[in-house]
Subunit: 189 residues, 4 copies
């Protein structure tokens, strides 16, 4: 009971990878706004139609290209102390958002979502931070009996840091992150 391959020339894996790599590179080199589909196709050495055949928008390519990395980047080792555990995670989050290419992609997507409803759906569906926040919150739950449902707690944890970065304010220092973690642990008692 095997599915037969459809007739015609199959999709070129080479072309697909070339596009994703081009997007990755260009995001770092020239930024999201300066990227054009024309430019991506040329950089990838690929026909323009080929890009349009498989993706609808810049945002869609970006999502496929970079965002897989997000989950990995935010996996942090458990710590003995709950405050330290949250702080470690928050530091990883700040680094991700401010320095990593995947973080830049995430911010670009979040930005685009504010203008384009289609991207809004895309971003809403793929909650890139959910898995990692859930993991760390699970670890500290024992020490925080009054912690609210996971979605809300995740927002309480990550929201302030994310907003600070998105509004172009200086990212929090280690001390500030620890203070925030402590506030939450205490508030969740």
């Amino acid at each position: 009971m095997s599915t037969t391959a459809p007739p015609g020339r199959p999709r070129s894996e080479r072309a697909r990878r070339a596009v994703l790599h081009a997007v990755d590179d260009m995001l770092v080199d020239i930024g999201y706004a300066a990227m054009t589909i024309k430019g991506i196709a040329e950089r990838a050495g690929v026909g323009r139609q080929t890009v349009y055949r498989w993706w609808s928008t810049k945002a869609e390519i970006l999502l496929e290209a970079s965002v897989i990395d997000a989950a990995e980047a935010l996996e942090t080792p458990a710590q003995d102390d709950p405050v330290a555990d949250l702080t470690t995670y928050l530091q990883a989050l700040v680094d991700f958002l401010t320095t990593s290419p995947a973080g830049m992609a995430y911010r670009a997507l979040l930005g685009e979502a504010q203008h384009d409803p289609a991207v809004q759906v895309l971003v809403g569906d793929a909650d890139l931070l959910a898995a990692s926040t859930a993991a760390v919150l699970d670890r500290v739950r024992a020490s925080a009996p009054a912690m609210p449902q996971v979605g809300l707690a995740a927002a309480q944890l990550a929201g302030p840091v994310v907003t600070t970065v998105l509004t172009a304010r200086p990212p929090w220092t280690a001390d500030q992150l620890r203070l925030h973690a402590a506030t939450l642990i205490k508030g969740w008692q």
Copy 2:
């Protein structure tokens, strides 16, 4: 000791206002992404050059058009209970972000800032939420002796709500807002 007027025809206040109104209207009608400077000029009944003479980007116009409204929309009356005080503010914030034109402008600017460094500076300089959060935090400070410095506390208060909206997740309910306020007040003891 009077400053003499510069030579030449003075700037037309009529044209300035027409542009700002046009931007306000178009943001609601067609959204930020679909707005073009050409379109703004035409809608305002103004020459294209006149727009370029006084503003560099869509974002700059939007900022001038909407900043004033933000502060007013987020002024909330004091409440007896500190948790209620914060909750009232948070509800106003959610309404502002999800329903008001000025809130849409704010989100559009925040979005644009993720692509464009120039807008990033613009948004970073004009912290539209700062004044209102500072006001409400001042009122509850007596009941929250361990509250951190105002910038950090403001982020703790508003960040989770803002992030939830920006990531296109359903905005928090009244109960959830109250729970968040309670967590902070307790955490700040």
Copy 3:
């Protein structure tokens, strides 16, 4: 030994013709000065870039549009008498310059050449009158043994008529044309 087609979509003959026709029409309707490349593209139902892709200037389009017509319009039947032969040609030349669309195009190009060195080269290269004057001069050469080299004789023949038209003076009557022809034939004895 066949030349392979270049890659990519081939040039649209339809678009080319539409542009040339539009230019022809507009020259008559609104005149050379009022013609804009934007207007040509719109009238032709063609993208603006398509015009720029194949022509650099209004003048270049005009030249391509009108050159062919010029030669035909100035072919005149041989006459028995050399003076009559020249007179017939001169009459055709006057009509061409003063009434035909191709003649208007020629005058517009000649005008543009006085401002724009690039057009000067264009006009200099394509001597629209050369073929027709050479033909008629060949026919009368037997009756005019002292006729100078063809370029000079052609200028002697056509120059006075052309200048009269270009300087906006009333075009010569049939009698005046015959007188001019007679002067030359006598001078060339």
Copy 4:
């Protein structure tokens, strides 16, 4: 019976001359096509409105600026031999058209006249070559009994040379000019 001066500040002769000089200079520096009224005003250190108040078009300024010189430039000393007389004039005409600023202005105006009916009238009214050709033709009339009416003869004399220059062909050599003069003198016997 004296005419009283009109009320208000009288026209500034300084401004008028500054404009005319600017036009003269710019014609040589950047050419007719590149000249703009804005540019003329700036170069002359004069308000834009001041230019518009006194002249309607570039062509009008040019006419006032340069064309007075034309008549002088084409006054040639009488020669003993009629052929030499005409040849001397023709040489002056070629020099005027190809090298002198006033000649460039004349060609620019003639060019503009092909696009703009208003300039056509301007140029038609002011026959810049008429006076000079009439003078030289008068001198040779005795040796050319069959010379046609002055307008026609003037065109026969100057037309070929003018057309050669306007069509961007190499201007005639001294030998060619002499040959042309000889043809006419013989034709006019």
